[in-house]
Symmetry: C2
Subunit: 269 residues, 2 copies
């Protein structure tokens, strides 16, 4: 990770990224991605100050793309800007993450309410049904390895994104995306309980069942039910994550849980 030239030439494709992939056609994108990974992976200690010159040296590029990347990550919420002294890796309290789940639940609940009040056309409903079916098929091949978990997570992600697309509500989509940028809000605990495969399978099956109920409510125009179900669905993820983060020892066993090291026990932000 000391020289970025290689990264520029061969952008990482391990992040399918529903968004139009802001990464790595340019050095700036590569630096941003590299820094993000270093922060989420704990390679840079949370709370430490980060200088552009130091990072430029460390990555083998000039200060210009580093500066751009740092401001980008600040807007992403991973860094906080010090007045005139560069940036610092942001530390989150557990409460912040849980609160972000509440925001997500509220917004996705709103999303389902809107959809139920203006039922999507059959094609979209079929796509949603398909995403659910895919998830079930993956679950049927349990117990899950890390690969299965990733596949299921992809189908889960597809379901949520299909809902969002169906609403065609740009401010809502942007609010959700911004909120979900916080670490751990999307890559919840569900996919990372692999040390307890039966629990993981249970969680995934339950989530899939909830998806089916949500889709049912939406397709019947049951706005209140759809909203409540989605809120509860997200709340279950929230509680699942809370249990996982409850004992940090389990986190340490999951390198696939990026960002958990940014959570400070109960101190200041």
């Amino acid at each position: 990770m000391s020289d970025l030239t290689s990264i520029v030439k061969a952008p990482q494709d391990d992040a399918p990224a529903h968004e139009p992939a802001p990464c790595a056609q340019t050095r700036q994108g590569a630096v941003t991605a590299a820094l993000r990974q270093m922060i989420l992976g704990g390679e840079i200690t949370a709370g430490s100050r980060i200088g552009e010159a130091e990072m430029a040296r460390r990555l083998g590029v000039s200060r210009t793309p580093v500066r751009l990347a740092l401001t980008a990550l600040e807007r992403e919420g991973l860094l906080t800007a010090l007045p005139r002294r560069g940036f610092r890796v942001r530390r989150f309290r557990l409460k912040d993450i849980l609160d972000a789940f509440d925001v997500r639940g509220t917004l996705e609940g709103m999303l389902c309410r809107l959809l139920a009040e203006d039922i999507p056309d059959t094609a979209r409903l079929d796509e949603l049904e398909q995403a659910i079916a895919d998830g079930e098929k993956i679950i049927a091949r349990m117990p899950p390895g890390i690969g299965q978990a990733r596949q299921w997570f992809a189908s889960n992600d597809r379901f949520h994104h299909l809902l969002l697309d169906a609403a065609a509500n740009r401010p809502l989509a942007e609010a959700l995306h911004a909120n979900n940028r916080l670490p751990l809000v999307v890559v919840g605990a569900v996919t990372c309980n692999l040390d307890q495969p039966e629990l993981a399978a249970e969680l995934m099956a339950a989530a899939n069942k909830e998806h089916r109920n949500i889709l049912d409510a939406v397709s019947r125009g049951q706005a209140g039910r759809a909203e409540a179900l989605m809120r509860e669905h997200v709340y279950q993820s929230r509680e699942s994550l809370r249990r996982l983060l409850g004992d940090p020892a389990r986190c340490r066993r999951h390198p696939g849980l990026p960002g958990w090291q940014l959570i400070s026990p109960e101190n200041e932000s």
Copy 2:
């Protein structure tokens, strides 16, 4: 507006800015503020491409701060990034703005629900009461001139911000701030109906009454009522704005309504 040196030396203070003032201790901040004002004021035609070199010449600074400012405004939602061709001034459909009001209503509704479920201490409730009382005092000095309207808007703003502070929910606060950055979402139609003073007075009085009801619900722990009242409160603003934008001729009479020129009738975004 052709040379920014003066702006840097003497930062504008016409924007009290609850936030820690992201402006103008540095050139970058000054450029950002200037560009934002130019865009919102219609000085730069909506939909037009914006090059950093051109802007740098126009503002009399180098490309470096301009580039930073452009990316900042992109994150703010006023610009959209073209792949490798700089930026373009974003055009909003009326639907986007109305949708943003829906998001705001949902989030502020959530905020009130949370507050009612964990009632703030007396000091905070008193501050809220004070903000409402201030608003009423201003309304009593009707009919409103532009100055009165600004004063009332300040008290209105203070009320909403006090609620947000009381919740101490950072993700919620950030989601709201990001959403409200869209033009016209905060500076709603209420304060800009000055061509019909009696209507403006009516709207302000109604809004203040709603504030009082909301605070009552919150302080009594009536979560559902508080949430519903706040949603409706925002919905009234939304409809008010919709009526105002219904005939663009009225907008043109209100130079205090920044950003209305970014709304494209019913075309593509």
